[in-house]
Symmetry: C7
Subunit: 68 residues, 7 copies
């Protein structure tokens, strides 16, 4: 198994993504590529205790720390 295969298994599953700026974004994984660019659906993150919601969010891969 390669690491990207593990991401493939997460498609359409809920994931948590930690970014290099400390943000944690949750949502359903809809797409990824070899740069680890991601698209999450029904995504949300907390900003100063307020939950922000997005129908869809594109995350640039070089910002990703981990995905679980």
């Amino acid at each position: 198994m390669k690491p990207l295969d593990a991401l493939g298994n997460l498609l359409n599953e809920p994931v948590m993504v930690k970014l290099k700026n400390g943000m944690i974004i949750k949502g359903k994984l809809k797409a990824f590529d070899i740069h680890i660019n991601l698209v999450l659906e029904n995504a949300s993150y907390e900003d100063n205790g307020v939950e922000k919601k997005f129908n869809q969010i594109f995350l640039r891969g070089d910002m990703v720390v981990f995905i679980s």
Copy 2:
């Protein structure tokens, strides 16, 4: 679906782009490429509480955190 397909679906739609320096820029997505270089039309961002407006703005892709 690949992440860039999701961006393709946003062409001519209003988007919000968060940059690595904390700036948030809003505008209509007119163009993107594989580096996530972006062009927004009728764009604006807040600078110390003052809204700055641009007919068109080119954003370098490596500054992008997320697009929604």
Copy 3:
């Protein structure tokens, strides 16, 4: 021997991964690639003295400092 061969010898073994943001993540190494993207199983890390656990975690390679 090349460095990636050493990682190959660690597959299915418990490893400790130090990231550039200071995090230390422990788990069983399930996958790696030439970018040093990693997948750990039964992974955990400490966050303010609280252990956080994950069935599986994908770590982006450019965050890795060392693996042992």
Copy 4:
């Protein structure tokens, strides 16, 4: 349209370039390439409230945040 086409439309036009170190440089866009390296003519920026002027300035592309 691709993002670099938008830059092509700005050739010989006055532009404002924001760099990652916070500098804002204004001038007439004379050249660009795929790395977003730029050449501005009759360029200026403010340094501690003093305007500095240049007949021509070469900006390294990886410093660019946005161009408008």
Copy 5:
């Protein structure tokens, strides 16, 4: 001679590696590649005055400042 040849001469020799986060790791050089990914055996580093030891450690090349 090219720089990587100098690393080749250090194989199976004790080396000291300084990383970008300030860490200094000592051990026997067992492997390296063109990215300067390294594997050290019988490695150790000091952490707050306590020596930490590893049978084997993989260091990601982009963290390396110098090797001697």
Copy 6:
């Protein structure tokens, strides 16, 4: 014209180079390449109010902010 053509026009001319660490180096431009690696002759920069001089200095391109 491409940006590197503008650098070609500066060969053997006095230039000022600003680096990402804030240093400003002046000298005669003797060479450059696509990475914006530079060689300056009769170069100098100020360090705490003291001018340091070099017959020749090689600047790594990824440190360059601008050249004028």
Copy 7:
């Protein structure tokens, strides 16, 4: 002349290398490559006022600010 030719002229000559972490390392240039990876012989740098000496030191190219 290209910038790397200037480095070629410095082979077996004493050089001073400034790194991005502020370190200044002196020694005889024995090898370099296109990444500006360097090998210095009879090298030394000051650490808190104490001179540290190395028979040979490998410097990773992406740490280099300038060489003179």
